[in-house]
């Protein structure tokens, strides 16, 4: 191998002209020129590389300018340290040149044909860039599951990296197609439009997504006006229609526009465009599936969510629900307030806890809430309601049981009459105006486990500023505290409630939920539900001005 080092130059000096004959055989081009640039000698390989070169001729007449410049500066004074090798084109070859100085002022140029390596490096660099780009594109596309946003990102990325402008045509929704336009230096715009897919050759097939069709080049004259993004004023040079593979879900079609007349996609670029289409198609179909699933879940979930509570017939109700898992919105606890038909009739409040957590338990709470709703006409008799509910649960297939509290509530002048019945549930707590906390004296068996249920009701009244608190064991069994593993417990709850005399119902509910949540350690928790009942104390008695009550409750 030829080594462009001081050592190599020293050796050539030693061997001197005897080495001349062996030179010719060196399989690399070697030329020797004096400091003025006149060629002194060159070998066969150099003659092949520079066919016009001959001894006695001028370097600048036969060699490329970069080599001539390099020779001039080397001849003026070799650099103190070994300079980086020079590389440049010679004809259609890429050549690396290394100079060594001979004692008589001549410069020996050792040339190495690097064409293949250079080509490989260029391709590798391009491939690396495309790979990085593709990684970025993938993570950007995968970052969102929102369909409009995903379409926006796809069109913008395509306009940035694949063409000057891009139009994403989404599968039809009714007669309309969602069109997302992007220009390289402009905003992304989305419109829903009625378009005729047949106006663009190949578009209907590509939109169907099956059978697979290749990307297709179009004559710019063939495209209708709607394809042109607003703000894309240049004359269209090339158009390509690329289907986005959605894997069973239609994902749409990308139309790419370039203004140049040249067909500017190289092989590597076409490959990149195909990969881009695959990524975008997968992201769009995932977003579409997610959107559909979210809509389905939201619809099914609506009936299972806890209701928003407010004041009814002169009584304020406040509730708060925290499901066991942060990922869920529903769980095994539930509450409902069924207003009486008029202020003189009782309102029924139910709060309960189905054995188990998560969606399965939530589905059962839905059934129980429906059953209780149907039993409303019998709400005068809590025991009968519980018996019927027990019967209904025993005959159903899921075999779960429930504990619950029923409260019949009626405003009577300046007090609220309460009838409370616990069926295997924690008895409600009564927070008196002076801060005394009493436990309602009601006991009963749980529902849905035994053939018979028994329950004792407890009647009491609330004065202004007093609160009746219904809650599930998720509150008292919250595990944590400063030492990490203690239960919150009924004792702490009662103690906290002593400070709540005279507080509005919403404030009591929020206070209790906050205390339990702050008590919680990192170990997770059960569903937690709280309902507070209090007099709408600033509200006038409903019998006097009922229309005023509705105004307040709006």
């Amino acid at each position: 191998m030829v080594k462009a080092s001081r050592g190599a130059s020293a050796r050539s000096r030693d061997t001197g002209s005897q080495a001349g004959t062996s030179w010719a055989d060196v399989p690399f081009p070697v030329l020797v020129a004096d400091r003025h640039g006149r060629l002194a000698r060159l070998n066969d390989a150099a003659r092949t590389l520079l066919p016009l070169a001959e001894a006695g001729g001028w370097l600048h007449e036969v060699a490329p300018p970069w080599l001539v410049d390099a020779h001039r500066s080397f001849a003026e004074g070799p650099p103190a340290s070994a300079a980086a090798p020079l590389t440049g084109p010679v004809g259609d070859r890429m050549v690396t040149a290394r100079p060594t100085a001979s004692p008589d002022g001549e410069v020996v140029w050792w040339l190495l044909d690097d064409t293949d390596r250079h080509r490989a490096e260029t391709e590798l660099r391009g491939e690396k860039q495309r790979c990085e780009l593709l990684t970025d594109v993938s993570s950007t596309l995968l970052s969102t599951l929102n369909l409009p946003r995903c379409m926006e990102v796809t069109a913008a990325l395509a306009a940035q990296h694949l063409a000057e402008a891009a139009v994403l045509v989404s599968p039809s929704q009714g007669r309309h197609h969602q069109l997302t336009y992007a220009c390289r230096y402009g905003d992304v715009r989305q419109v829903a439009r009625r378009i005729d897919p047949y106006s663009v050759p190949g578009l209907p097939e590509a939109l169907q997504g099956f059978p697979p069709v290749p990307a297709r080049w179009l004559d710019p004259g063939e495209i209708p006006d709607w394809v042109l993004p607003p703000g894309f004023t240049a004359a269209v040079g090339s158009v390509i229609v690329t289907p986005l593979p959605g894997h069973g879900v239609p994902a749409g079609v990308l139309i790419l526009l370039r203004s140049g007349t040249e067909r500017a996609f190289s092989g590597g670029e076409e490959n990149f465009a195909r990969l881009f289409a695959a990524r975008a198609g997968a992201a769009l179909s995932a977003a579409r599936l997610y959107t559909e699933q979210t809509a389905i879940t939201a619809t099914l979930m609506r009936e299972l969510l806890p209701p928003a509570l407010s004041s009814v017939h002169g009584v304020t109700y406040a509730g708060n629900y925290r499901p066991a898992s942060d990922h869920e919105r529903v769980g095994g606890d539930f509450y409902d307030v069924h207003p009486g038909p008029d202020p003189s009739r009782e309102t029924l409040v139910a709060l309960g806890d189905v054995a188990g957590k998560g969606l399965d338990a939530a589905v059962l709470t839905g059934k129980i809430r429906n059953t209780l709703h149907a039993l409303l006409p019998l709400a005068d008799d809590h025991q009968r309601v519980l018996r019927l509910l027990n019967g209904a649960l025993l005959t159903s297939h899921h075999g779960r049981f429930v504990t619950l509290v029923l409260a019949s509530v009626r405003r009577d002048g300046n007090r609220v009459d309460l009838r409370l019945t616990s069926a295997g549930h924690l008895p409600p707590l009564l927070v008196r105006a002076d801060g005394t906390v009493e436990e309602a004296g009601t006991r009963g068996t749980l529902v849905g486990a035994l053939p018979e249920v028994t329950a004792q009701s407890y009647e009491t009244t609330l004065a202004p500023g007093e609160i009746c608190l219904l809650y599930t064991d998720g509150i008292t069994e919250a595990r944590g505290g400063p030492l990490g593993d203690e239960l919150y417990g009924e004792e702490r709850l009662r103690r906290a409630l002593t400070a709540c005399g005279g507080m509005p119902a919403e404030a009591v509910v929020e206070h209790v939920q906050m205390l339990a949540s702050q008590w919680l350690g990192p170990g997770g928790h059960d569903d937690m539900a709280v309902v507070a009942i209090g007099m709408d104390r600033n509200g006038p008695a409903p019998a006097v001005t009922p229309q005023d009550t509705t105004r307040r409750n709006r």
Binding site: T144, P482, G484, A507
Partner: protein
């Protein structure tokens, strides 16, 4: 009833009604002011927000109990609700984009976020208000289904900053920029910057201005990790202190009993109160480790010292507590530096005139 027309006059009257828990007087006052032509934005920010701040500072100074604070806040919330139903507050179709307003996971103080939501609505934004302590998974699911222009993240208690960081990075990963606001992020918004939020707003008006200016969607690079924002977390001190919290509390209470004689006479409730105080100190220490800034710890510590003195508990017990913690955390250089700074701050406090209690960093909300 005489009608105050200045916001200052309205503030005083509303304050009286709110602490008296007189909901209807409070509601009537603002509805009347609205009828008289006071602008909704002025009422919300210059009257109602001021009253809420006063509730907070009265609580921080131990002049309102937590329960009273909740009661007053509930009344003030109803005032906002009543106002938002007022004719003059109802806007037509939103003229601007859609935004999400929520509180950090674990944050119960929803009032500031609520005000921001109301103001943005007034300014023509379509606002999704997710309320107090939004679990981050809910927030992200919401972003995927609504694609808002921005998330406005509110936090009042600094100990939720690690949760805030989780929310910020998760939102940004979905391509939605985050504007942080609230006392938790520091009076100058420094923790919003530490956590990599796209913006910080000291109040609702500033938040609206920031949105009107326009935020750019954060560019998520594939390789970016939450740890890149906070390289100091690599020492694991935060993680280990959080994991050791129950053990640290237990040991500190035990040691305090032998080293702080007054504790011998404590009943169970006082003992639990002490344990809670220690737990809070550790929580703030952990937060200081998370954001790598002792300030958040020092502010809490001096505030606690003032509060203890108001409760006739000698603040000297705090110094002993810090010593015991330092002994247990002897392998944690960053924690030790913060504890040492805490000692100096307490000494300085004992030497000089009492500094003003700073409710901004007050956090032991129970």
């Amino acid at each position: 009833m005489n009608r105050p027309t200045t916001t200052a006059g309205l503030h005083e009257q509303l304050w009286q009604a709110v602490v008296a828990a007189d909901e209807y007087a409070a509601v009537d006052l603002v509805v009347q002011a609205m009828d008289d032509g006071v602008s909704g934005e002025d009422l919300l920010l210059d009257v109602i927000a001021r009253v809420q701040e006063r509730i907070g500072s009265e609580w921080a100074a131990d002049r309102l109990t937590v329960a009273q604070e909740h009661a007053a806040t509930a009344i003030n919330e109803r005032v906002v609700t009543a106002l938002s139903h007022h004719r003059a507050m109802r806007q037509g179709k939103p003229s601007r984009g859609r935004v999400t307003v929520c509180c950090v996971d674990g944050e119960w103080h929803a009032f500031p976020a609520r005000l921001v939501a109301e103001i943005l609505q007034l300014r023509g934004w379509q606002v999704d208000y997710l309320g107090a302590q939004t679990p981050t998974p809910h927030l992200i699911a919401h972003l995927h289904s609504t694609n808002p222009a921005a998330v406005l993240l509110s936090g009042s208690i600094p100990t939720h900053l690690p949760n805030a960081h989780r929310a910020v990075t998760a939102c940004q990963a979905t391509g939605v920029p985050v504007v942080a606001g609230g006392r938790a992020f520091g009076a100058d918004g420094r923790y919003a910057r530490v956590l990599g939020a796209d913006g910080w707003a000291p109040d609702a008006r500033a938040a609206a201005a920031l949105l009107e200016e326009g935020l750019t969607r954060s560019v998520t690079s594939a390789g970016r990790q939450a740890l890149d924002d906070l390289p100091h977390l690599a020492d694991q001190e935060y993680t280990m202190v959080v994991q050791a919290r129950p053990r640290l509390v237990r040991q500190t209470v035990l040691d305090l009993e032998t080293r702080f004689s007054a504790m011998a006479g404590y009943d169970d409730e006082q003992r639990e109160r002490t344990a809670e105080d220690i737990a809070h100190i550790i929580d703030f220490l952990a937060t200081a480790l998370y954001v790598d800034d002792a300030e958040v710890f020092l502010t809490f510590l001096t505030w606690t010292a003032h509060l203890l003195e108001a409760r006739k508990v000698p603040a000297a017990s705090l110094l002993v507590g810090l010593d015991i913690l330092a002994e247990q955390l002897h392998d944690f250089p960053r924690a030790l530096r913060i504890l040492t700074a805490g000692r100096s701050a307490l000494h300085a406090m004992a030497a000089g005139p009492p500094a003003l209690a700073e409710p901004a960093a007050a956090g032991a909300d129970a």
